[in-house]
């Protein structure tokens, strides 16, 4: 449910609260004049979505195709109000194969499941789009065919 706070129409990303607009956002935060929109990583690829701030303000986001919703994106900025995006990148599983043969199997397996992955040195990170258990179930099927483990990330690693 939204409140009767005036609705915002957002058609560009103005900057980043982590970077060029850091000080401006920070100043407004001191006055309690920053509203946040939280979205999961899976939604960040959308160019158009209807979202609600933490103060339950209705926001109609329609970006050009070239823009990307990233963590810290400043979507609205006046002397009196900033709206900043927070992207929850939490949901991921880091898979570490134990040998070359297993790495090939693992890659082929995840590819066949059409999972979204990022490659790191010696590991492959699966970006989850749905409940983690659904992914772990599929990986259990692979255990007899390949040697690998799921690396438990510390909170800091997940941040980075």
């Amino acid at each position: 449910m939204t409140t009767d706070l005036p609705r915002l129409e957002i058609s560009t990303i103005l900057g980043s609260a982590h970077d060029d607009l850091h000080d401006a956002v920070h100043a407004l935060e001191h006055r309690g004049r920053v509203e946040w929109i939280d979205i999961p990583q899976a939604d960040a690829a959308r160019k158009r979505l209807r979202a609600t701030t933490d103060k339950r303000r209705d926001c109609l986001i329609a970006l050009p195709r070239s823009a990307t919703l990233v963590d810290g994106a400043v979507l609205h900025m006046t002397d009196d109000l900033a709206v900043v995006l927070r992207v929850d990148s939490g949901a991921r599983l880091v898979l570490v194969p134990h040998d070359l043969q297993s790495a090939l199997r693992l890659g082929h397996w995840c590819g066949n499941l059409h999972w979204k992955v990022d490659f790191g040195p010696g590991s492959m990170t699966v970006l989850l789009d749905g409940p983690e258990e659904r992914y772990r179930e599929r990986l259990r099927d692979l255990e007899t065919l390949a040697g690998f483990h799921i690396r438990e990330e510390s909170a800091e690693e997940a941040e980075a």
Partner: protein
């Protein structure tokens, strides 16, 4: 505002093209500028059907041939569809909505959000009332689930209300709507939903 891009997926014969035909009539009546991209295996069958229907100028209907499993061009490598959408946008700057129909696929098919901003999955009663229970990714992850052909539920031994309740249950409260593209019922609700969630008009 750039045109919204929406996906319409679902099994072969569930009524994706029929739904598009119904939506085109509604959008025409409320003055929303639309174009369509169809995906077929190795033909332009659906695009030809829509062009014959005459609801849109033929050049607003593009066909992309998947050549292989239809999901490849909406998820694994959507570049052909993205290029088609870019072409439509460049040619018709007034567009507000581009609808992309996937070639009929299985219950695991999903759209990449690199291609569309929002997508719906169309199933129908004749495919069996156990489809929602099978919890396919298309059924679970779509922004809207449409259960079509409500008109023939009695003829295929489907308790329609129970099927809708089950569909809503597996989706954890995310929306599911019932339609009959044959009779035209439920179409207004789909339009209403699209206007609120995607078109903002």
């Amino acid at each position: 505002m750039t045109a919204a891009r929406i996906g319409i997926g679902g099994p072969v014969g569930s009524g994706k093209t029929a739904l598009i035909e119904r939506l085109l009539a509604e959008f025409a009546s409320i003055g929303i500028e639309v174009a369509v991209i169809t995906n077929d295996l190795v033909t332009d069958e659906d695009a030809e059907r829509l062009r014959r229907g005459g609801q849109l100028p033929p050049e607003r209907i593009l066909a992309v041939q998947a050549g292989a499993c239809p999901h490849t061009v909406i998820r694994e490598d959507p570049t052909l569809n993205m290029a088609a959408a870019d072409r439509l946008e460049a040619r018709f700057p007034q567009l507000q909505l581009i609808m992309i129909e996937s070639g009929g696929d299985n219950l695991a098919s999903t759209f990449s959000l690199d291609l569309v901003d929002w997508w719906m999955f169309v199933i129908d009663v004749a495919g069996g009332d156990d489809i929602p229970r099978k919890r396919g990714p298309g059924v679970l992850q779509s922004d809207l689930l449409v259960v079509n052909k409500s008109d023939i539920a009695p003829h295929v031994g489907v308790d329609f209300d129970a099927m809708m309740a089950e569909a809503r249950a597996v989706r954890n409260g995310r929306p599911a709507l019932a339609t009959s593209c044959r009779q035209g019922s439920g179409i207004a609700e789909v339009v209403e939903h699209l206007r609120r969630e995607v078109l903002f008009s």
